[in-house]
């Protein structure tokens, strides 16, 4: 069996924050009626967390993100994806749904450093202040010209998901935004050096 290769093979850059393309992460898109107890049950079984409220993301050992009124993104170890899909198909055989392995269709970036909100605010029209984008909120928006989903783990860690086809564009974008000397210093004092 060939090894899964992440879009940019773990590319990394250090600017006023560090940008790193994280290795392969398992992702499942699950669409259906989120108020259905069957859907709620299967999400709880697979990820160990309840379905997050509108616009929220729950990350533990595995994670679950609210993507739209009828769509969730499950984050789990790559090796568990096919078993999870089998479990979903089994548990929801009577329930109208769609489940797809999108691990290879997405790129995931991890941004660390004091200026994570600064590096994002240069690229997106979304309000990334701690009030509008607190920890645990999933914000689907665009970064420059491509759609992306962003969430904050803590004040020094942010994550970005985008389509694999624009992974290189996204990485270059984040690197340019993170160049030393380029921090607007709106959110992190002192990150502007």
């Amino acid at each position: 069996m060939s090894e899964p290769v992440s879009p940019l093979n773990g590319a990394a850059y250090d600017g006023f924050v560090s940008v790193r393309e994280t290795g392969s992460c398992g992702m499942i898109t699950l669409r259906g009626d989120l108020s259905d107890p069957v859907v709620q049950g299967v999400v709880k079984t697979l990820t160990g967390v309840d379905i997050p409220a509108m616009g929220k993301i729950t990350i533990g050992k595995t994670g679950c993100a609210w993507m739209s009124p009828d769509e969730l993104l499950l984050l789990l170890p790559r090796a568990d994806v096919s078993a999870a899909l089998g479990e979903i198909a089994q548990a929801m055989r009577e329930t109208h749904h769609l489940a797809a392995d999108v691990s290879d269709a997405r790129a995931l970036f991890n941004i660390t450093g004091a200026g994570v909100r600064d590096v994002l605010t240069k690229l997106t029209p979304a309000d990334v202040s701690p009030v509008a984008l607190p920890v645990g909120t999933m914000r689907r928006t665009r970064l420059a010209q491509v759609p992306a989903a962003i969430w904050i783990d803590d004040e020094t860690t942010a994550n970005v998901i985008c389509f694999r086809s624009v992974a290189r564009y996204m990485f270059d974008l984040l690197c340019t935004s993170a160049k030393p000397g380029g921090a607007p210093g709106l959110f992190a004092q002192g990150s502007e050096q």
Binding site: M54, G55, M67, S68, P69, E71, P125, A126, D127, R139, R140, T141, R142, P147
Partner: protein, 107 residues
């Protein structure tokens, strides 16, 4: 800058995160309709200076279609509401009338 709050995901989305869908609440005239109705359905659009109803898609977000009532002259947004309706609901009409007392109602 136009900012619309998507009624499906409650995000105040910037115009650049949205896809415009043109005039809302158009009656479809399909096969079997007469030529005049079909032409109206295909080509005839309002172009008001003032209150206007539009369709928008939250394309760089939840991906859902929704409706917006806004003023084309001032960009004031009166309300955004569900796509699953044939006409503006009463609370939207009330919101517009409270801001534009001389408005004559939806066309």
């Amino acid at each position: 800058m136009l900012i619309l709050t998507c009624p499906c995901c409650n995000i105040a989305a910037d115009e650049t995160e949205l896809l415009p869908g043109g005039q809302a609440h158009i009656t479809r005239h399909g096969p079997g309709s007469d030529d005049a109705d079909f032409e109206t359905y295909l080509f005839m659009r309002e172009n008001p200076k003032g209150v206007h109803f539009e369709r928008w898609r939250h394309s760089m977000g939840c991906g859902k279609w929704f409706h917006a009532a806004r003023c084309t002259a001032t960009l004031e947004v009166f309300a955004t509401y569900s796509a699953q309706t044939f006409g503006p609901p009463q609370h939207v009409i009330d919101a517009i009338k409270s801001r534009r007392p001389d408005w004559q109602g939806p066309v």
